[in-house]
Symmetry: C2
DNA sequence: GCTAAACGGGGAGACGGTCCCCGGTTATTT
DNA sequence: AAATAACCGGGGACCGTCTCCCCGTTTAGC
């Protein structure tokens, strides 16, 4: 009774193609909406933006947290890919870091703000995996720039993630069609501040991703 | 029938002392709540945080916009005072700028984010007055640092206000007791990026406060 | 072409925010 | 110190909105 073509060991009726496509569209829409309107945006509006019926959202995700988690994980993956792309740049190490920062902003890294929220399970396995991967890759990007004496040594992965998130986030209450007119400008300011040699001493200590999760 | 002691020209029954105190407490509470939870936070919670009954809020402010406007104006005044304080510093011009930035963050400058919101009357006279004052003073602080060759010339008042607001704003969805542990650290990074000579060219143009208001 | 899975719109139920009412309290006046 | 008027604060009604289910219709996959 085994269908040799389908590797379905048990109860794996592979979902329909349009179902997968819709799920993807929902995650994409949710990412944008979370960035623009915060994590409390009505699910019905996410559905509308995704071009699907509201029921499709509720079918795919048992509750809001599940959707938030999926969005956060997907953004982490995108961020990780941005880091890998930057690492492929074999030339100037700081240029690689710059590329990573600007790309991460475009990939809506600020959508993982809910990660530090109180009502959010930070210990979900998917999440910890994605988190580890990002931290390792970004650490690598930053490490190279530090080793080349181009990046100040007193900043951590957490510092970078928070600052880029904050700078690329749309201002509160904005119905931001404004887009990212200023974002890359301001990111560039930050990057100039990150260059070695440091022009001043920072208060506090370099922060890691782990410290960020520990609310 | 004139009471010579009270300079009440017409219908100016000076409000009771506790009424004024309560009004002030409400504005203070609202500032914190707007910063932490955005401009849509329930008015009842603002009342709770202020330690007054909800009716007192609705009595003092005809609608939400009135309260928001008052908060924005008060924060602008605080920011202006921070700038004046910085200008009093007759020594190093860039040190004055640094002092201003850190103080503005502590004074909750990010509470004037709603100013760029769509549903907000940007042409109210009180607001324009406060706005003018802030722009003039910050322009002066930055001008001095530029003249001294310490501040890169390709940044405007708008750039500074936006960046400081964004960096000092609590991450979305945070019930932020986290406080500003990292804020001053990250502001310092920014300040290092602001120093002359510029380490890179910024995309776009220097932005003024006016451009910011023009949604 | 058949079947079962997925879709989408409409609507019931519940939750939460806004705003008013009114009995009690407190500051001010003489 | 007593009178008076303004102010306070909690409770509750109204209303908009979000959530989530139901069911007739559509569409992918065999």
């Amino acid at each position: 009774m085994q269908t040799p073509t389908a590797p379905a060991p048990r109860k794996a009726p592979r979902p329909r193609a349009d179902a997968l496509r819709n799920r993807e569209r929902i995650v994409t829409a949710a990412r944008e909406m979370f960035v623009e309107h915060g994590p409390d945006v009505p699910l019905d509006e996410i559905a509308r933006r995704a071009g699907v019926g509201n029921a499709t959202v509720y079918r795919n995700f048992p509750d809001r947290d599940a959707l938030v988690r999926e969005v956060v994980c997907s953004v982490m993956d995108r961020t990780a890919e941005a880091a890998e792309l930057a690492l492929a740049e074999t030339g100037d190490a700081f240029a690689a870091l710059e590329r990573f920062v600007h790309t991460a902003a475009d990939e809506r890294i600020s959508a993982l703000c809910p990660m530090v929220s109180s009502t959010f399970d930070k210990h979900h396995p998917d999440l910890e995996a994605a988190s580890k991967r990002v931290e390792r890759l970004v650490e690598e990007v930053m490490g190279r720039a530090k080793a080349a004496g181009q990046l100040r040594p007193d900043v951590g992965v957490g510092d970078l993630m928070v600052v880029v998130s904050q700078l690329s986030r749309p201002p509160a209450g904005t119905d931001c069609v404004r887009g990212d007119r200023f974002v890359h400008r301001h990111l560039q300011l930050l990057l100039d501040g990150l260059r070695a040699p440091a022009r001043s001493a920072l208060p506090g200590r370099a922060v890691s991703l782990r410290e960020l999760r520990a609310s």
